[in-house]
Each structure stands twice: as C-alpha cells, then as structure tokens.
Symmetry: C2
Subunit: 203 residues, 2 copies
C-alpha cells in the first residue's frame, strides 16, 4: 500500500514499528491500529518497557549475558558448577539451555559467530574474554553449544585452536535423532552423525 497516512503521528509510529525484523508496512499498520483501538495505557506500557530496556539493561561482565545487574543471576549463583562453561552465540542460547533444566554450569555469550560474509571476525566477539576466563584455571570443561551452521562450525574450530594450549576439556553438543522423532523423517546428515556417535546400551 502506497498510501497517505491521515496522521503524521500514525505514520511515524508505523515507520518505527516497521523497522523491526519481519514486520512490513502493512503489519506495522495493523499492529499500531490495534494499539489505537485499545486504552492508551497499553501503548504506554509497551513504550515504557522498551524505554527502560534500552536505557537500563546491563550485560553481565563475566558471561556477557543480559542482566539487571553487573553480574547476572547465573554467575552470582553459588550453587552453579564453576568448572563447567557453556559457550553460546547469544541470549537465546542461554535461555534455551536453561529451559532444559539439565545444565548447572556457567555460560559465556559470544554475542555472535564468526561470519566473514557479514564482516564479523573474532575481534567483534567476546573471544578474548573467553580465553581469559578459561586461563584463570577454574574451568575444567568448555561445552561449545553453537548452531550447526557453517558459521557456527567455523567459530567452534576457532575456539578449539585458541584453547588448544590449555588443559581444558572441549566438548560439543551431541547431534542425533530428536527425542520423539521418526527415523524416517530425520535428515540424512543427522541420522549419519547419530550412527557414528552411537551409544552402547548396558546389558
């Protein structure tokens, strides 16, 4: 729609909203009009939450995860196992692994993966701080939990090299058939890897 907006306020709100990824002009207009149909408090609460997020959010100075304080709740928790360090690409990685409830170690958020196509090298990532953290000696195992993409694998390989002269154990997430998945519908690469990494059953 190549339309004239009846109000500059509306036009601006739609413009700002459509800067969000995956939100086009049409969707932005629909979202903004839905806010207009509700009490002003709804739009004001959204605006306030975004303002506070943009101005008050912290990043943990240890693991670089998003946090309300200088040190995040996970790093500050004395019950977490300080010998385990899980390297993830971003905040969503932390949230996904936390949601399993199966991991009790610490995290290290890289803030991205190496991607020459996007001009992202190790220098833009929290790579030196990872090496420094491991160098302190408390960490015994580094679990690389990056996505199995070209960039993720490149980054994993880079970390492997950077940590090669440390005594730390390097591991990565097991690849295999999803729990509850049908073998018939598992892609061949995953199925192949799950065969190679087959697990012995206790008799």
């Amino acid at each position: 729609m190549n339309e004239q907006y009846p109000s500059m306020l509306l036009k601006r709100a739609v413009g700002e909203m459509s800067k969000l990824p995956g939100i086009g002009q049409r969707t932005a207009l629909r979202l903004v009009l839905s806010l207009l149909r509700q009490k002003p408090e709804v739009a004001l609460a959204l605006a306030d939450s975004l303002t506070r997020l943009a101005t008050e959010v912290h990043y943990c100075r240890e693991c670089h995860n998003i946090s309300d304080n200088d040190i995040c709740d996970i790093c500050a928790n004395p019950a977490r196992d300080r010998s385990l360090l899980c390297v993830v690409e971003n905040i969503r990685g932390v949230m996904s692994i936390e949601s399993t409830g199966m991991y009790k170690g610490l995290y290290h958020v890289l803030g991205g993966v190496i991607s020459p196509m996007d001009g992202i090298g190790p220098g833009q990532l929290e790579m030196d701080s990872l090496v420094e953290r491991v160098g302190r000696g408390e960490v015994k195992e580094v679990i690389i939990a990056l996505n199995p993409t070209m960039e993720g694998d490149t980054t994993a390989f880079y970390i492997q090299r950077r940590l090669s002269n440390t005594p730390v154990l390097l591991t990565t997430l097991a690849r295999g058939v999803n729990v509850g998945d049908d073998i018939e519908y598992t892609d061949e690469v995953t199925l192949g890897r799950s065969l190679t990494a087959r697990i012995e059953l206790k008799k």
Copy 2:
C-alpha cells in the same frame, strides 16, 4: 518456550510486545532482542512514537478518522466534494480508498460494523452522527464501502433503513472480477454477482 528470562526488563518488554495481535512470546522475544542488538536510539524512537500516538492523537470530529487536529485534512480540504460521503468501517478503509486516487468526496468512519457475536450494536458505532451529517442536506450520495461479510452486509442494511426517509442516493461498491484476475480462479459468488451486474459496452 517456558523459560526463565535473564532480566526482568527483558521479560517485561517481551510481555508487552506479545500483547500485540499475532505476536507470540517467541516472536516478541525475537523482536525485542533485535532492538537490543541495535543502538538504544532505535528502541527509544519506537517508544517515543508510540507514546506520542497514544497521548496526542486526535479523531476528526466530522468524519471520526484519525487526525493530528480536530478536523482532519480531508474534511478541511475545500477541494473535496462535500456532496459525496463514503462510509467505511475504519481508518484502513479510508487509506485504501485514498490510495486509489479515484475518490474526491468525504468519509464517515463508523469505527466498526454491527456484530451481535462481539456485542457490537449500532450504539457503539458512529451511526447517529452519520444520520445527523446526512440530515444537514449537503450530502447527495452516500457510498457504503464496507467489507462484503455478514457483519458488513448487516451494517449496510441498517444504514439503508436509517436513511430511508432522506432524499440521499445510496450506493455500494461494485462487486466483480478483480482487474487482472483470471475468470477461472474467481470464486463463484463474485463471478455470479459480476454477471448479474454486467455492464453494457458502447458500440
């Protein structure tokens, strides 16, 4: 995802964002994290535009369209034909018809359609103000431009009854095969109506 958020600020922003229609928790998280990856100014500009929209927006007291002033640009424009009044459901109706560039009359925004299922009767709509506007005598034709749904048709029928004792000409949008559309793929109701309302070609 049933996760714990690493930050209450993040959790709140995601919560507010996911109140928008069609935006679930996962999408809201993706949108909010994309804002976090950018300069704070981007989130602040969005927040400011929503705040200003919620607090400063006006509705035209003539046609009830959204406006930056008490009287919208269309109603205030002396070049518009005051004898033509187009009745639409909402702001998007105005924007769609304006985008055709083919209409030079005024509008009347009902603010919805009659929908007993949703508890919306004529009393919640700008119906009395429509009758009052037409009663002033300047309007010669009322074009009903509502969606061809059960609710739209009910509303059109209601307007027809309310205006039956006025000398105004009542018209509705022509239904027919879309320009550029294939007859083969036109639904039978539309095709049927376009046959009934067939247009004579000049020889």
